[in-house]
């Protein structure tokens, strides 16, 4: 619909919209997070939910204790290799549409523990991460900014054609394989269909 016509109609007291806008408005306005935290980032997440920062302004204050009722997984903290299968299983148990925020350096890349023996080098090896929030830990403002960005992302999704959300794609995977414990690392070490890092070009290779 033409924006000028729409603006003119609204001045006359006629509200027009599209099904897509209405649908996305409903989806983005009550993104309920899953109530779980893994490390110190969770403390900032809790602070964001309290009265000072008040995540309720974005319709996301209802932290659900069950994955069956949650729309958003905030991976807040260090994902150890021992914990990673449980995180993936929780994600699989969430109903579509669902989103993942990797909050903080550890959830993004392993952070200061990246080269250690017991920490996963980023949750995006196993889960389709929608949004990365850098910081160690990120401030509650950063989390709120992340939720606003996620709302923008949801609002911009078309319901048909390319770029439609995953729950409207019939052939998109409904769940992701849960890694198993190996003698040193998780097997497989990453989900190849999800995790495709850019190839590293070495400048001084002989």
């Amino acid at each position: 619909m033409d924006e000028g016509l729409r603006s003119e109609l609204s001045k006359q007291g006629v509200f027009t919209t599209t099904l897509q806008e209405l649908y996305n408005w409903g989806r983005r306005s009550s993104v309920w997070p899953l109530n779980f935290g893994l490390a110190c980032c969770a403390i900032e997440m809790i602070a964001a939910s309290m009265s000072r920062w008040d995540i309720a302004r974005f319709g996301a204050e209802v932290f659900r204790p069950s994955p069956r009722q949650a729309d958003l997984m905030i991976v807040a903290g260090t994902v150890t290799k021992k914990m990673a299968p449980m995180v993936v299983r929780l994600y699989n148990q969430m109903p579509e549409p669902k989103y993942v925020i990797a909050m903080g350096a550890c959830a993004i890349s392993g952070g200061p523990f990246k080269q250690g023996y017991n920490v996963l080098k980023g949750i995006d090896r196993y889960l389709p991460v929608d949004l990365h929030i850098p910081g160690c830990p990120p401030k509650p403002e950063a989390l709120l900014h992340g939720i606003m960005k996620l709302q923008e992302k949801i609002a911009a999704q078309p319901l048909t054609g390319d770029g439609r959300p995953r729950h409207l794609q019939a052939d998109a995977p409904a769940e992701f394989p849960v890694p198993a414990y190996g003698p040193y690392d998780l097997t497989p070490a990453k989900n190849e269909t999800l995790w495709r890092p850019a190839a590293l070009e070495r400048q001084n290779a002989a």
Binding site: K82, Q115, Y181, P183, Y184, L200, R202, A205
Partner: protein
Amino acid sequence: METLEQIAARIAAAVPGVAASVETNPAVRAQSSLVVGRDHALAVARFLRDEPGLQFDYCSNVTGVDWLDATLKEKVRVKRVVDGAEQEFEETVERRRPGYLEAAYHLYSMALRHGPLILRQRTANRVEDTRLASLTPIWRSAEFQEREAFDLFGIVFTGHPDLRRILMWDGFADFPMRKDYVEPDDYEYEPTPHDAVLEKARRHYPVEGAA
């Protein structure tokens, strides 16, 4: 609190057949400790807890230490006859010390408000015989920490009620806190590697390391 020597003497008097030696710490803090053999550790621990003058009723910390095989250098004074006259010389003697694993317990008394007393047990060696006596029957707070020492150092505590790995998963192959632990090469790119990570980066990219 009494000195460690006094406590060691009391242990020798009270628990028959037990020798608890005092390991002095030459550092400034001089936190010396009591070393007991694993066969007598349980009896010594029970004595330390139940003796009215000591009453170490709180075990705050249990940890492991890995001592590799080492060559210790000691200076000794030797008397030698040179040109008919006896003279003193200082000589350096090298001594091989086989490696061992060690469990250290930090004990306090809540009742008498003293501590810490550091109690140590040592295994026979690092590879085959890594058994020590569990002190969980004496101090319940040692249970999880002994499991941690088992998990990361491979010290087997006999008499422990539930000796499983606690931080790593069951089926993990190695003991990561041992000094000779070699982790698999799973290095990933970092923009500014330094120190130990730089070493890993050099091993991972041998071409760049040579350049």
